[in-house]
Each structure stands twice: as C-alpha cells, then as structure tokens.
C-alpha cells in the first residue's frame, strides 16, 4: 500500500496550475535552514490531501533539497554518506557524462544552479497569476524573517496559450505518455505499459527487481521520498521555425518535418498511427494517442525516425529492461510565447522540468547518457536527440524513406541547458525530521 498521506503530491498528482514560481535558496547555517523549512512544512500537501482537494485548491507547494542542502540543514555525516554517489556529486559535477558540454556546460548555467550554495527548491504552483503573486510575496516574507536564508534565484512559470492542453513553446502537445504505478488508483492509458512497482519512483517500496537496496538512512528520512533531476531548457523558437521553413516548402511539409523530429505531430498524434497526415482528434484522444509500438509497427523508422525524440525517450518494445528506465515528468513552461509570425526576440523561454525517479543513475542519467546523447544510439552513428540532445551544428538527422532516406546535416541546437540540479524529495514525516520536529528513531 502506498502511504499517500506521507508522499509529496508532486509524485502522484498533476495539478491544474497555469502558473507558478521555482525559488532556489541557500542556507548560511542549519538554524536558518530549519527556520525556513519550519515556516513551509505545513503548507506542503500529501498526495492524498491534494487528490481530495484538487478542485478547491489554488496553490500547491513542493520542497526538495540538494545533498549540500541536507548538509547545510545539519544532517549527520552517517546519513549524508548513505545517499547515492551521483546525488552527492550533483548534476553539475556529472556534466560530461550527461552530455552537458560546450554551450550547455554548467559554467554557462544561470541562477546559481551550478553552485554548491544551492541548497533547496520551493516549487510554488498556482492556479492563477493572483495566487502566484500572493504565494511569492508570502515566501519572500518568510525569507525576510529567516536570518541566514538567501534566495539565489527564482523562475516564473507560465503556461503557453492556448491553455486547453499542455504544450511547449515549439507547439508540441505534452503529457501524453506517463508511467503509472501500482496503488496510485490510476490506470495506464492504452500503450503506456503495465502498472509499475512503486519502488521505481518512491523510496521504501519494492521495485521491479524486488526489495530496494542501499536506501538512505535513517529509514524515516528516505521512506516515501524520491529523487528529482531538474532541467531548465531554453527553447530557441526562432531557430526551430527557421529550420522548419528551410526544410519544408509548404506548411504541410513543415509540419511533417516537425513531426519527424519529435515522432508525433504537434497535435500529439503519433506518427506510427498517422504516418502521412496529422490527425488532431487522434492527438487529443488519450485512449488512442499512445497506443502503438515500434518493433512490430515501425521497425525501420519509416514513420518515426530511429533518432526521433519520442523514440529515444521511450523506445518501448525496442529496448531491454524498459520497466527499470521509466521516469515521472513534471514541470512547466516559462517565458512569453513568441507569436507565430514574429522573429526571435532574444527573450529566454523554455521548459523547466523535473524528472522524478528512485535512482538517478539508472533512470535519469541513463536517459541522458544513452538515449539522448549517445551518437551511436540504434547504430545511427552521427546523431543525438534532435530536440533536447547536445547539438553543435556538426551532427545530422536521418529520416528513413523509400526509396532513399533523407539526411539533414548540421542540426542546430533547438534547446540549451540553462541549469539543472539533483534534489531529494522527502516524504512529509521526513520533512519534519529535517526541520528538527522529530527525534532520530532509536530503532534504526
């Protein structure tokens, strides 16, 4: 049974937030950190509470900590040591392996995210702008009262219009494929795979291989927690639209180029099911829009190129061990939308997302290292993910086609990594333990 009263809601719930703010903070001393945490902990809602109050709630708060942040809160050395190495090192230290090189290197990151002074994040999701402003002001008041807590940076989130469905600044429909775990009360949509063991995403539960090993200690700290990889990805909308125009003569051809890069039409309709023309009704139909495979339905990539974003991020039946590689995605877009006819205005806009998983090294880092940035993925030889891979203009994208495939050379970077971090997302009891409200259990 999932302890829904203790798990932070973000793990299990997608809230109807249209806006929000991420606030990145640093603690000068443990007293300051605990004061901040004590001021916020009662506002953090469990999965059970949020599910029960979704219609009436206007804001949703999530708190998480870097390893340096746990240390800054005064967590003891034995506990600190018990965390996995990749989390201790942090995302910036593992940049080379993650593919964050060149212009994506942490030396170019913004907002203090690459700094060891980054200790915690407060995710303040809000239903509307008025509520966001109220939450941000209230948080600022709390920080002002906590001597020794510093805000390194913050990021304002804004859904991009039209608001009827979630999509990014490039226009791709989002939130189509999510893993679902046993005990969550949800059922996976057709094609999304079976129910997964909760231990793939939450600490303290069996995973697809059996009981979890090497959990951070004490048990009270790790139970119902998880790990989150944060990625702030700038989307170069002008460059993306220029690319579509360069490689497509007509609007229909441009849409097809966009679809080939992603593996889905921007409407969400999967190319495997709609290979020749967009089908907006299919894209919007959650009972149909994820119901496909690759091995039988598109083995050579005539519909979805082997290197397309969707095919890399979820190879479905063409990868081994898939149930151990699934990830929960949360997040939002930021920055103003760029009007369709306007040239790029130089304003930063993009996606600020969280990948939530029980093991950063096995799930998030594998996806980055192998699926997104391995040039030899599917024996492609000279490609990376065309949407979120590290691109320097020297790589290509191959579109299988009869009788002769199309090869686009010199793929530009449509996105840039502007920051990232690894966070530990504690359960509610663990938050109170970190806040100093709970004693160390004598049994552990």
């Amino acid at each position: 049974m999932l302890e829904l009263n203790d798990i932070q809601h973000i793990l299990l719930t997608r809230t109807p937030a249209l806006t929000g703010e991420y606030v990145f903070v640093s603690f000068r001393n443990p007293t300051a950190g605990r004061a901040w945490l004590n001021g916020l902990v009662d506002k953090v809602r469990s999965a059970a509470e949020v599910q029960a109050s979704l219609a009436s709630s206007k804001r949703w708060v999530t708190l998480a900590f870097t390893w340096n942040g746990l240390r800054a809160l005064g967590l003891d050395e034995a506990s600190l040591c018990s965390f996995p190495d990749e989390f201790k090192q942090g995302m910036a230290a593992r940049a080379e392996m993650l593919g964050d090189t060149g212009s994506n290197h942490p030396e170019h990151w913004v907002g203090g995210l690459a700094s060891p002074d980054l200790h915690a994040i407060a995710i303040l999701f809000a239903r509307d702008d008025e509520e966001r402003a109220r939450c941000v002001a209230e948080h600022a008041n709390l920080v002002a009262q906590c001597n020794g807590v510093e805000v390194l940076s913050s990021l304002e989130l804004q859904a991009t219009p039209p608001y009827e469905y979630a999509h990014d600044h490039f226009g791709y429909r989002d939130r189509l494929s999510q893993p679902v775990m046993e005990g969550s009360g949800e059922q996976p949509t057709p094609g999304s795979g079976g129910l997964l063991k909760p231990g793939e995403f939450i600490l303290g539960y069996p995973d697809e291989d059996g009981p979890q090993q090497n959990l951070p200690q004490p048990e009270m700290l790790s139970r119902n927690g998880s790990f989150m990889a944060y990625r702030r990805l700038q989307e170069h909308v002008g460059a993306f639209r220029d690319f579509l125009r360069e490689h497509g003569q007509t609007p229909e051809e441009q849409e097809l180029v966009a679809a080939k890069l992603m593996g889905r039409w921007r409407s969400g309709a999967p190319l495997v099911l709609a290979p020749n023309a967009d089908d907006a009704a299919l894209g919007a139909d959650m009972q149909r829009n994820n119901d496909f495979n690759y091995k039988e339905m598109d083995p050579h990539g005539y519909a979805v190129p082997l290197g397309a974003h969707c095919r890399r991020m979820n190879p479905r039946d063409t990868a081994a061990n898939m149930n151990r590689r699934r990830m929960i995605r949360r997040g939002a877009t930021y920055g103003p939308p760029l009007p369709e006819s306007a040239p790029d205005d130089g304003v930063e806009r993009g996606i600020a997302a969280f990948v939530i998983c029980a093991s950063l090294i096995r799930q998030f880092e594998f996806a980055q290292n192998v699926w997104i940035n391995d040039k030899a993925f599917h024996e492609l030889g000279n490609e990376r993910d065309p949407i979120i891979g590290t691109q320097d203009g020297t790589l290509e994208f191959k579109i299988p086609k009869r009788p002769i495939r199309k090869r686009i050379s010199g793929i530009p970077a449509f996105t840039s990594v502007k920051g990232g971090a690894y966070f530990f997302l504690p359960g509610l009891e663990a938050l109170r333990y970190l806040a100093g409200q709970r004693d160390v259990p004598t049994s552990s």
């Binding site: 059996g210 009981p211 090993q213 096995r362 030899a376 030889g381 191959k398």
Partner: protein, 188 residues
C-alpha cells in the same frame, strides 16, 4: 544502415595499442571511466580468483549455460555480443577465472541491462564462486558493477581482421548470402 561501418574500411585489418589505463582520454561514464571502441569493438576481460575447491562447480556451469542458450537462442540478443570466453587457469596453488566478452555496445552504457539479463538466465551465478563477489548481487546491481570494474583488466592491444564490424552487420551479410544462395539454387 550502420554508422559504425563508416568508421573504418572493414577490408583493411587494423590493430590498436591501448595505454595502461585502458583509455586514451579519461571520459566518465555513469559508473566510472569509459573504455574506447577498438577495431575489435567493445569488450571486457574480467579476471578473479575462485574460491578454493570450486573449480568443478564452475566447469559444470558451462554445461548448464549451454543448455540455457539452446533453449533460448535469442536470450542474450539485446547485448549484441560477438563472443563470450570463459577460462580457468592456475597461478601456483590458486585457480583463476577469466571472463572475456566482445560486443558492440559500450560496457558502461548498457551494464545494467547486461546484469539483468545475466541474472535472469543464471549466467552470473558463476560469480558466486569467486572471491570478493558481493553476496547480495542479485538485488544489488551497483555492487555487482563495482566488482566487475575492479576486476576488469584492459587490453593493451586489440586487433581485428574486419575492424569495427558489428555482429548485426555480420548477420545481415550472412542472411543476404543465404538468400542469394537459395535464389541461385532455385535457378538451377
């Protein structure tokens, strides 16, 4: 179509000398340094001392794995192996086990998939007869990977008569040859 075949001409045999560390430039993978692709593709050579008196058990395992693969010929396909070689040899009174694999995927990248599959088919059980092998290896993949990395001995030279050719490419070529032969037979 493989990008690998563009790396070098398969008709031109090639050798590569490798520095003592096992790599030319330190590149971190998820679990440690990554080892380069050579004309003989990727691979590992793991050498570990066996527990005293376990030689017969290990040898018997050879037969067990022969049977497993006979019943599940596609069982290890996703690892894109060329060859596995298991060798026992003595140094003085002690017996050592050498496990050499040659394959087409970066060891660091797909290491968990390999552990999962080897575990599923019992191939890793052989490791229980090695000294220092983690007892909880079935559920503790990171400990298993650590053991493998600690016992990996990088090559200092690798050679290939047909460099950088993947097992998939070889199989494709042989399938083509088979169908071509069948066609010629039918034309007789």
């Amino acid at each position: 179509m493989s990008g690998n075949s563009t790396q070098a001409d398969w008709k031109k045999p090639a050798a590569m000398a490798i520095p003592k560390e096992g790599f030319f430039k330190l590149e971190q993978g998820r679990y440690g340094p990554t080892f380069p692709k050579t004309p003989a593709n990727y691979g590992f050579t793991i050498i570990a001392k066996i527990k005293p008196g376990r030689e017969a058990v290990i040898r018997e395992y050879g037969k067990k794995i022969e049977d497993t693969i006979a019943g599940l010929p596609d069982g290890l396909a996703v690892l894109r192996l060329h060859y596995l070689r298991w060798v026992l040899f003595d140094i003085g009174p002690e017996t050592y086990f050498m496990y050499q694999g040659i394959f087409d995927t970066d060891f660091d990248k797909y290491t968990e998939d390999a552990v999962a599959l080897f575990t599923k088919y019992g191939i890793n059980t052989i490791f229980e007869n090695l000294e220092g092998f983690p007892e909880d290896w079935k559920s503790n993949t990171p400990a298993f990977i650590k053991f493998v990395r600690e016992h990996q001995r990088p090559s200092f030279l690798e050679y290939a008569e047909y460099p950088y050719v993947s097992a998939d490419e070889i199989k494709k070529a042989l399938r083509l040859k088979d169908s071509f032969s069948a066609m010629l037979d039918q034309m007789q």
